[in-house]
């Protein structure tokens, strides 16, 4: 149970960082933290105490594999989610570089042309 609470704490920490910090790099770090908290949660869903890796090797007994191996699906999902996160982060960082080029600052409170 405590691990789920810690995951929630990580998630909220990311949300706090996103809301409270003005520097856009720190905001990105907040988004990443939130994303990884969600990924961690997904991995924990498939966790099994004393489980084995869900990889069938030559000569392993199938019954032991079925009863003991952890759930492989969340791992596949997390891999995909990480890849998607990577794409998003690459775009965010690229946008940051461009924003710095245009505005000369990383401070979100100074990047304020749009209002209303």
């Amino acid at each position: 149970m405590i691990v789920y609470l810690l995951t929630t704490f990580l998630f909220v920490l990311g949300l706090y960082c996103l809301v409270a910090k003005k520097n856009i790099i720190k905001k990105i770090i907040g988004v990443i933290t939130m994303e990884y908290a969600a990924n961690l949660f997904l991995i924990l869903v498939g966790y099994k105490a004393r489980g084995i890796a869900p990889i069938l090797t030559k000569g392993a007994s199938k019954t032991e594999f079925v009863t003991k191996s952890v759930d492989p699906l969340p791992q596949a999902l997390v891999l995909t989610a990480i890849v998607i996160g990577l794409g998003t982060i690459a775009l965010m960082v690229a946008l940051c570089i461009r924003l710095y080029e245009r505005y000369g600052t990383f401070d979100m409170s100074e990047i304020r042309r749009l209002r209303g």
């Binding site: 492989p72 596949a76 990577l86 794409g87 690459a90 461009r98």
Partner: protein, 168 residues
């Protein structure tokens, strides 16, 4: 000797030259054995991309871009995605999109599991080229916004099918 901005010191260059081949070999191994051991197209592709990034860090951008230019990276990137889609389309040979139409072979052989190794190779190509492209775009040009994100999306497109097959 080289000019000061051409990469790092001699020590780094020598070690880098020695290690680079092993990194690439390991990446290719991970890609090719993806259907048997942990790994697959994405991790292997990342390892191959780090090999090229090491090349660029240690030898400077001029030599690295001569070996593997950004145009080649974007071309391979698109080719990898297309190859993956072609594998998916070839499933129509057996009547279904994404059908594993090749004979599965005996388990635990290198040539087994039907189309899985093919899709792994396609994804590996895509991921290695696009990660290197992202690195080049962010580190050197600092401008290629569209290049940076396009690659990310392609992988997002390639991976779900991967997870889908692991699921099946």
């Amino acid at each position: 000797m080289t000019e000061p901005d051409e990469g790092m010191t001699l020590i780094v260059k020598t070690i880098g030259r020695l290690v680079l081949n092993f990194i690439l070999l390991f990446g290719i191994y991970i890609i090719l054995y993806g259907h048997l051991t942990p790994g697959g197209g994405f991790p292997g592709g990342v390892i191959v991309a780090t090999g090229f990034i090491l090349l660029m860090l240690s030898f400077g951008r001029r030599i690295a871009l001569k070996k593997f230019g950004d145009l080649a990276a974007s071309l391979l990137d698109n080719l990898g995605a297309l190859a993956f889609l072609i594998v998916a389309f070839l499933g129509f040979v057996g009547g279904y999109f994404f059908l594993n139409f090749i004979d599965r072979g005996t388990p635990f052989d290198l040539f087994s599991a039907g189309t899985l190794p093919l899709s792994n190779i396609a994804i590996g190509l895509k991921v290695s080229a696009s990660l290197y492209g992202v690195f080049v775009a962010l580190a050197i040009f600092g401008k290629a916004i569209v290049g940076g994100d396009r690659t990310g999306k392609g992988k997002a497109e390639g991976e779900p099918a991967n997870s889908q097959e692991q699921k099946g």
